[in-house]
Symmetry: C2
Subunit: 351 residues, 2 copies
């Protein structure tokens, strides 16, 4: 049995009775019932995921997977391709958006090279799991072989396993110039949607470039014919290395009952690949935010996940995950630290 097969077999739905158990404790706390809304939901979900009736979050870790994309050659992005590697160096020096926001949320950032078309030297702290040196141009053929796609997923699973600890919560993030193109192609393939309905302006392209981007995705889907019922085939033909890594991280987290907070559009493409492989992963996933990218909503609806914040973000890297991790942790603290009506001598509701 491969690591992927083994991991898929290990993922089980959460025990729903734990949600009720957590609700009982929440209802004893000095507040009107359900008055902390989604903050309470987060606590319940963490209890059910971890199986601990007094859960703690002791380690917050955001994995930012970096990979290049052959399809960048089609001029689908506002930024030149070399920015992927340049941003990896920026992550390692602590100067990027994800560094600032992760620090603010008390989270660490694990920067993973899974598919950058660059040889990193003096890159202290980089986690090197390179599967490809950039994908191939999906407009001309499959982005990856099936073996490469599986290797990306298994790299993500391995990271989820290596960094596992009691009280861990994972976040996902990514960097890869042109990667909204594969993300849109993935949801178009899986939901059988028209590319125009699920393709947006990424880092800020103009209307003409958007037209070209849509045409490139249409061409890639026609040429490669990814099988809707085979998520690994979709990932290989029109996906990307970092998207595969994220899919694997989500699968590995679910298998080990570690909550995983999924960032925006590209990260959600990875989570969606994982979900299509085993829908029970949904129980372990928090959708962090509502991206400006139009295809994002289609993905979230498919997984029946409601995003936590809506801040018009479209940066990626894991920035939305960092913000959401703070709010999820708020739920766990409320659950653990608030006084009960009995302890505080506060009268309960009338009647």
């Amino acid at each position: 049995m491969t690591l992927l097969e083994k991991t898929l077999a290990e993922i089980k739905p959460i025990d729903a009775s734990l949600l009720d158990k957590a609700q009982s404790r929440l209802d004893m706390l000095t507040k009107p019932k359900d008055s902390l809304g989604r903050i309470e939901e987060f606590a319940k979900k963490i209890v059910a995921i971890t199986g601990r009736t007094r859960p703690a979050i002791s380690k917050k870790l955001i994995f930012t997977f970096a990979g290049d994309h052959g399809v960048a050659a089609e001029g689908v992005s506002a930024f030149p391709k070399e920015v992927t590697a340049q941003m990896v160096y920026n992550f390692l020096r602590g100067g990027a958006g994800i560094n600032v926001l992760a620090r603010h949320a008390g989270a660490e950032v694990a920067v993973v090279d899974i598919g950058v078309d660059h040889d990193f030297v003096s890159a202290d702290g980089l986690i090197s799991r390179k599967v490809v040196r950039g994908t191939r141009n999906m407009r001309l053929g499959p982005a990856m072989t099936r073996e490469e796609a599986v290797a990306c997923i298994e790299a993500g699973i391995t990271l989820a396993n290596e960094y596992a600890s009691e009280g861990a919560i994972y976040g996902t993030g990514e960097m890869g110039i042109a990667n909204t193109t594969p993300a849109s192609a993935i949801i178009a393939a899986l939901a059988d949607a028209r590319p125009a309905e699920v393709t947006g302006k990424g880092t800020g392209i103009d209307d003409e470039t958007l037209k070209r981007k849509i045409a490139v995705i249409e061409d890639a889907l026609k040429l490669n014919r990814p099988s809707t019922n085979d998520p690994v085939d979709v990932l290989a033909k029109v996906g990307g290395a970092e998207i595969g890594g994220i899919a694997g991280l989500v699968l590995g987290a679910a298998a080990r009952r570690i909550p995983v907070v999924v960032d925006g559009f590209i990260s959600t493409a990875g989570a969606l690949i994982a979900y299509e492989l085993n829908p029970a992963v949904r129980d372990y996933v928090f959708a962090s935010h509502n991206s400006v990218e139009r295809g994002h909503r289609v993905m979230l609806e498919r997984m029946r996940l409601r995003p936590i914040v809506d801040l018009d973000l479209r940066l990626g890297e894991g920035t939305g995950a960092a913000m959401a991790i703070f709010l999820i942790e708020a739920g766990v603290k409320v659950y653990n630290e608030m006084a009960t009506f009995g302890d505080a001598g506060v009268s309960e509701k009338n009647g």
Copy 2:
């Protein structure tokens, strides 16, 4: 000139050119333009409020004002009136929702007795600014005299002044059994709305109690006839002491160019009184969240403020403000700490 008059005269609109100045810096940072969405907006607003092109947040302080309401005698709340004082003790011991969430956001809580119908003993840490021992029942007459209403507002202004420091950000919060009733009455009076359109279930009343609550508000407005053009008259006749305190805190913060993060429905009623007294306060206010209470949206639309999070909260105390303060601070850190394209050696956008 009274303290209130003096403060109103001191409030000036922000200098909009500072927003552009802040935008210029944000556009130099290593991210696609505007890709951190509202997080960037928060940074710009803080720059414009404080007038500092490199702002820092060095003190986060949430004022939780407590007051009782004579109208509780009409059976409009799900909880007995003594809970107001009981919760004040809970705040002082650190066991309430606001304590947990403020700690999580790195904020302090200042608990203010402005109108509780209770003599606090051995209440270490309580800030005593009692103006009334509960308001009078507005269904039978004015909740407060005009003098009492002004005294509540001035108590809030005085706190804003006393705690002012460079780098401060304030949050508002409240505790007062039955206080969604005056909050609904205030927006009904100011927006000339039907009470049924702006009244909700507060801490969790049933449909029958909701009907009674609406009838009580209708009766109170008919009997007291608050003057729509005189916010202090509205506060006196159908408001509450803690709502007046919040109005004053917002006015005082605006006069001193301190950003103020307004919690949910009741806090926003206070901010609305301040706004009606001087609409320029809007520039200094962040609306923290979108409350479940239906009248809240009407208030926010009146002030043209967009809430930061939407987490189905309806607890009050300042809990939404605590969550929002974290996100606003995230913006300031992004603004101050991210590397620029030049520093990081990252290529800028094509063309």
